[in-house]
Amino acid sequence: MKALMSVVALIGVLGLLMLIGMIFGVIPSNTVRLVEGYMPMQVLSELAIFVAGFAGLSYLANSMGIAFPRFWQGVLFWVFIQTYLKFRIYPPIPFSVRAMYGTVSFVAVFMWVSANEEDWKKFRQPILNVLDANTGFHKALRTMYLILLPLLIGGFSFMTMKPSVDEPIELRTVHPAPPASTKVHGKTYTLQTSQNPYRVNLEGKYDQDYSNKLIVEQGMGRLMAPNANPWDEKAEGYLKYVREGGEIFFQNCHFCHGDNLNGRGLHAFAFNPIPANFTDPGTIAQLQETFIFWRVAKGGIGLPNEGFPWASVMPPWEQHLTTDEIWKVILFEYWHTGYYPRTWD
């Protein structure tokens, strides 16, 4: 048991040292890189390792008779969570979200330290000790707190009040409500009833079940289904349209939306709002094909105000593409990401 715990504790200490090193730039911050596709699992497993490490440390300290006060365990664990969220996660989480996590973790820590009467006593004992100041050490500690607290709080409020040039935060609606219909190249399309004319089976009928069988497979890489290669010379109907849509995509769209449709194109770094990531389950996967048609045809300038039409560089594609080309690009986007378009019901 002890051996196991020492190993676990060692991992915890190493992890902590690494985190601190990365925060202060002693160790290059990309030593353990968070990779996009794996990130949620990476973060969860890292946190699990840390928690195990702390448990190991606490066990070891206990068995060596230098038990760490419950009060400081609670405080430090909360500080650790905050530090991890602020410095480890990328792209950075906004302060408001961090504050929410902070509150939740505070409540969790509080519940942990007050789980039963004995624990709660252990937790508040150090606070009472300092307040009462029965020993010389505690007296010194109390004096220190008395001086430090006003200084810290005063200094903190000075820092927050000092005029800063931080970026103002503006919240933008990513998927605004669509109109009932949209007019493109002189033809009116009712969003609820229009269909992608190229999502057809070999008989030429609209057939989503047919196309669903031919899209790329979900999972790492999102590779094409075997025997469903749009570049096959014999490819007909749906798959041929997918290739044509892909050609248009790679002549027009990938500059921003990227070679993997993940919003990391060549020009994407310069723009704000950043180009949509179609591989994210929160974009085209939860939208209808006609919604995409409206967004593509009308572009950033055609957004309602909550979508910040003034800032989006998304072109109104009706200026550059024919209606058929727009439908084909949409077909390609669903094919390449392996998502089914949502239906209106």
Binding site: N30, L34, V35, E36, G37, Y90, L131, D132, L146, L149, P150, I153, G154, G155, S157, F158, M161, K162, P163, V165, D166, P168, E170, R172, V216, M220, G221, L223, G246, I248, F250, Q251, N252, H254, F255, C256, G258, D259, N260, N262, R264, G265, L266, H267, A268, F269, A270, N272, G300, I301, N305, F308, P309, W310, A311, V313, M314, P315, P316, H320
Partner: protein, 613 residues
Amino acid sequence: MGLILNLTNNLGEQVVRLTMSKLRMNVKATPIFGAALGAILISACAVGVSHAEDLPEGFAKGELSPAPPAEMIEAGKRVYFTKCVWCHGVDGAGDGPGADRLWPRPRNFNQGTFKIRHTASGELPLFNYNEKNPDSGKNDLLDTVTHGLPGSAMPPWEGILTEEQRIQVLSFVTTQLVKDRKFTDKESESQTILQLGTIKPVEATEESIKKGAQLVVDKKCIECHGVEGRGDGNAFNLKDDWGFSIQPADWHKCWNFRGSRQDPYNVRNIFRTFSTGVNGTPMPSFADSTSVEDRWSIANFVNSLCERDAEGKPLSIDPLTDKPKINFVVPSAPIEGEISNDPENEMWKKQGRRYVAMGGQITHKPRNFVNRIDDIWVRSLYNDKDVVYLIQWDDRTKSVAEGKLPWAPTQVNVENFGVKEQAPKTGEEGSIAAAQNNYAVYNDGIGFQFPIKWQEIPAPFKPRYLWGDAKFNADILKWESDGSLRSFRGTGWDQDFEERDDFEEKVKLLKAEWKNGQWTVMISRPLKGDKDDYDEYTRFDIGKYIPMVFFAWDGHNGDAGRKMAVSAFYYTILQPPIPQEVYIYPAVIAVGVVLLEGWMLTRRANKKKGKVL
């Protein structure tokens, strides 16, 4: 078309062969200035250093890797036709649907010419299907697919494709699409590998960097890369093996180095590129002629040129974009009295500069797919009358239109005058890369816009980033390299500018200079007009965030009108002097805390004594 393809392929092959034969003969001290299809192969004046087995210093002979198994190749085909075919084409000739609007063009695999390697100049790169660690230095192609080629459209595939999938697709490419050479052919191929893992780097001391600075002059690096390393040397018309225009690297933007491997400030990447050369381009290997120590000095010097922050530390790189992190606020600091027009003046040096990322204008025609100004650096100061913007950006060419431009300065729809966007599919001979240096030369330019009457626009509304709109107009300043500085009102992306005569007298061009590949332009404009009515111009109020958008034109790229580089919305803010309350309130709060402490202690003491308050 097919014929032309064949022709270029054959010529490309010849160049490769030339390089190969040069290697085999172990030619050491012959400077070759051969121009084959415009490609200049420079084997720089060598000092006669001899080494064991006649290998260049730091290299060792390696074995060819085994051929990947057939099922791996088959699996790789599936990856290739899902992800790669769109740019690299069905036959891997770098002619997929996306190719013609890209510059640099996607790689043509057929000749087996790969840029970033650990192997000697002209040799095939390292690829071993058994070596699964991307950063081992033993698998160049896996490195490239994993980290992408920054500054080009090739993205990092890490996190998208698994390591297995990346190796599979490389197995397919190296065996099926590399057609003129064979990775396993012991007769024709050899592997002379740079021992980067075991060579001890020379520390980047001042001495080493100084030595490097002298060496880049001696080795004629500056002929192409320019005196300050901004890629503006006299070799502007460089071509690659396929006859496509390419440009020397700008050493000040290491995050755009193709071989930076998502680790741009790592000097080893520069050492590697300098030692092995860049196949298919005029960048030769300097391994034969330069000792390892000298190569480190050069690498240290080149690395020292890359942009850094005020304390000399590397800029922090955004891992999502592999470019410097962006702060969308351009602060302007208050100055008493005159603002200097010398960027070297202390007041400018003290004011931190901001990195402003620029992308091609791809919203409206003519779209700018090949954007050559990808960032500008902005600083700002203000006094009681004016606000001054100092803008600096790298531009390899100083472009001034010959004669008078056929359109009026206010005209923005210039498509009828030949400013057109690249057609989607033109064949290689009509592609951007082929036509790159044949554009009509227009003026370089820089511009920025603010909202007029931003005080009355409810947040977060703004006039559209592209020259405002009918409802919210934009106040636009535009400087062109013919020396003009003009002031306009913008009412929409397709609406000609409106001139504002009275304001033009008040905006001043304090400096405009192109030197060694860098423009420095300093523009002063009044904080407000004469009247308090501000229908025409933007009135600057201290301490307020005012939206700002930047535009840049590269005349040698054929940029004019809407064909330009554009930024996202930034904010400029005139930093106010610190008000008094900021000192008073925290003191009051601190006193409050002291009182609270006193109350708590008393309460506790009373409770202990059994008293109840």
